[in-house]
Symmetry: C2
Subunit: 236 residues, 2 copies
């Protein structure tokens, strides 16, 4: 068991066209944990405008990675959620989550997010944990905070993530549901973020709590080394 | 393969304190399908105010069902999403999804949702499919639209759902990841809704499409009869 501050201040970075389960899977876990342990939640973006889920900007992004083409039959099939803070007035955060999604392909659009992640890691206030889900690892790589670290990311977009700026400084692990390197946890694609978060809850609060939450969510978990998708996408 | 209208008009009923994966799991699936098949999405609520995810109203609701007590360490740990339509100006819908969550315990607060579901089923415009996730089945039962049907629901809240008005007219199946009865599909708790939706995508668009989406989501699916949670919660 680790030393836990209370309330534990959770932050989530949002950008247009993040993947829904990247955010709402871990938040479903944390919401259930927050019934027993005092936590706060901040949803951080460049401004306070509603943020689109899954896409709307994909039409303008080149398709890299299998199944993630630029053409869509239903370009406006999306939802919108509300941020709570801008980067400029972001509160202190203990645990920062960074999701992935089509929106990570928008390199210019996510530059403010990358810059803020870098400044928060390098200048503080100190983060206790930095977590990425799916192609959220590409933002961490671009920020330089994965240099010299082990990490993983989405398996259908693995080679794209390896191509972003500073990604060549990272030891990418192809077959892993998630990877832990110090205080940095990175998960594979989409659903893997929820497995990682459940394991992180076990790390912080013990297995009884993580299993209570997993059963309430009727979640069919994979273990850290169970990664059939690395093979499916030809990475191993 | 079934006859599919295009665009396929998806609707989702929202109420305060719905469970996040109940909504954003199936929508993650449908978003990926909507890249290949033309779909529209309407998020329906009593008004256009932002709707809270997971909770905020739980403090006022009696705790029924294991692990779902009324006391929370972090009552405001929530997110807010934006509806697109009110019930009064709801468009025609082909496929209506109804999520569950703590908010279903708010019987008075969800009565407009129950009334609208009943009127849409009984008076039209005609729905092709009616789908519930988790304790969303309690709204369908209260609306009377499950009378004489086979259905399932959340396993930790199973006995609570069986206690709501009109639930005694339903043939509740304890051990099932999801149940299909004619055009009504009901899933077990939270994550089971995503398994059901993937299976429904296979039913509509074929297995290649459902497997494409499942692999992009790196989703570890359970089959229709795989339900370890019925045993865990002592229902079988």
């Amino acid at each position: 068991m680790v030393n836990i501050t209370s309330p534990l201040r959770i932050g989530y970075v949002l950008f247009p066209a993040f993947t829904s389960i990247d955010v709402f899977g871990p938040l479903n876990v944390l919401n259930l944990v927050s019934m027993n342990y005092n936590m706060t939640l901040s949803l951080l973006s460049t401004d306070l405008q509603p943020v689109s889920v899954d896409r709307t900007i994909i039409g303008g992004i080149g398709g890299v990675g299998s199944g993630m083409g630029a053409v869509s039959a239903s370009p406006n099939f999306t939802e919108f959620i509300l941020p709570t803070h801008t980067f400029d007035n972001a509160p202190d955060i203990d645990v920062l989550f960074v999701p992935g999604g089509f929106g990570t392909r928008n390199i210019n659009g996510t530059q403010p997010h990358v810059d803020w992640i870098r400044s928060r890691v390098e200048e503080g206030p100190k983060l206790d944990y930095l977590m990425s889900v799916c192609t959220g690892a590409s933002l961490l790589a671009r920020a330089g905070v994965l240099a010299g670290k082990n990490a993983t990311t989405n398996k259908s977009a693995f080679n794209w993530v390896k191509s972003v700026e500073n990604a060549d400084k990272v030891n990418w692990i192809a077959k892993a549901r998630w990877v832990v390197d110090g205080d940095i946890w990175t998960s594979s694609g989409v659903s893997a973020g929820t497995d990682m978060t459940l394991n992180w809850v076990e790390h912080l609060y013990g297995r009884n709590e993580s299993e209570r939450v997993r059963n309430l969510m009727e979640w069919n978990a994979l273990n850290q080394t169970d990664d059939p998708f690395a093979e499916y996408f030809g990475l191993v």
